[in-house]
């Protein structure tokens, strides 16, 4: 079944993505998804907009690698990751992860694993526009800790 990644500026339709992901596979009994959206506040400031930058080539490569890892760890049939780049505003959809499996446990776990992995390993950077000016978003220690739960050490947020 399919494991696909899209990095795109345009928006996406969640229900259509879910329908395509499970179409033609009657083994599927569970579809789990996560949708990330732009908040109007971050770290105490209001956010008017944000610009998402990425590393073309490495982004796709790193997400494909994390899907391979998810396939090894969980009994899943298909997965879909979409991440938007470019200019985004509060309430916009940013990131979508969806996974299918026979029973809910595997797709719940795989979906969370993929998001935890993406947060610290995929090369995206957010720059927010706030009333105090534009600023690059800081990485969070809590995201490294989230990946550590899966037995993977991440040192994204730490200085050497």
């Amino acid at each position: 079944m399919s494991f696909t990644v899209s990095i795109q500026t345009q928006d996406f339709d969640v229900s259509q993505e879910l329908a395509v992901l499970r179409a033609g596979d009657a083994r599927v009994g569970a579809v789990c998804s996560f949708l990330g959206t732009v908040r109007e506040r971050n770290d105490g400031s209001s956010v008017a907009s944000m610009e998402l930058e990425h590393y073309p080539g490495m982004t796709e490569k790193s997400i494909s690698a994390m899907m391979d890892e998810a396939k090894k760890r969980f009994d899943i049939f298909a997965a879909r990751v979409i991440h938007r780049v470019g200019l985004l505003h509060p309430e916009d959809q940013i990131v979508f992860v969806a996974v299918t499996s026979a029973h809910r446990g595997e797709s719940f776990k795989a979906c969370e694993f993929l998001m935890d992995y993406l947060k610290t390993q995929a090369p995206f950077w957010k720059k927010e526009v706030t009333p105090e000016g534009a600023r690059w978003v800081d990485a969070r220690v809590s995201d490294d800790q989230a990946l550590a739960r899966w037995g993977i050490e991440a040192s994204n947020s730490t200085a050497p």
């Binding site: 930058e53 950077w125 995201d143 050497p160």
Partner: protein, 87 residues
């Protein structure tokens, strides 16, 4: 005798802004990501500031996250960037 490598450098996000360009090609006689970073720091100015030790700088070699000991090769792609903040 030292080997010279042609390396494609890429910079992203705050490091790209500080250095003032997103990519450049260099010839280097360094052998590892760490030594290449040190060579760039030795240029001084924005390079020394953006890539300074003690700063959280992530490195990728041929589009894989790597630690500082990773070995360069002819025609390789090396990227320097701050901690990632996607999702």
């Amino acid at each position: 005798m030292s080997v010279t490598y042609n390396v494609n450098l890429k910079y992203f996000a705050s490091i790209r802004e500080a250095i003032g360009q997103g990519s450049e090609s260099v010839s280097t006689q360094t052998a590892t990501l760490q030594a290449l970073r040190d060579e760039l720091i030795a240029r001084g100015g924005a390079y020394a500031e953006a890539l300074a030790h003690g700063r959280a700088v992530r490195m990728a070699l041929n589009q894989d996250l790597c630690d500082a000991s990773a070995a360069l090769s002819e025609g390789c792609e090396v990227a320097f960037f701050p901690p990632v903040t996607g999702g």
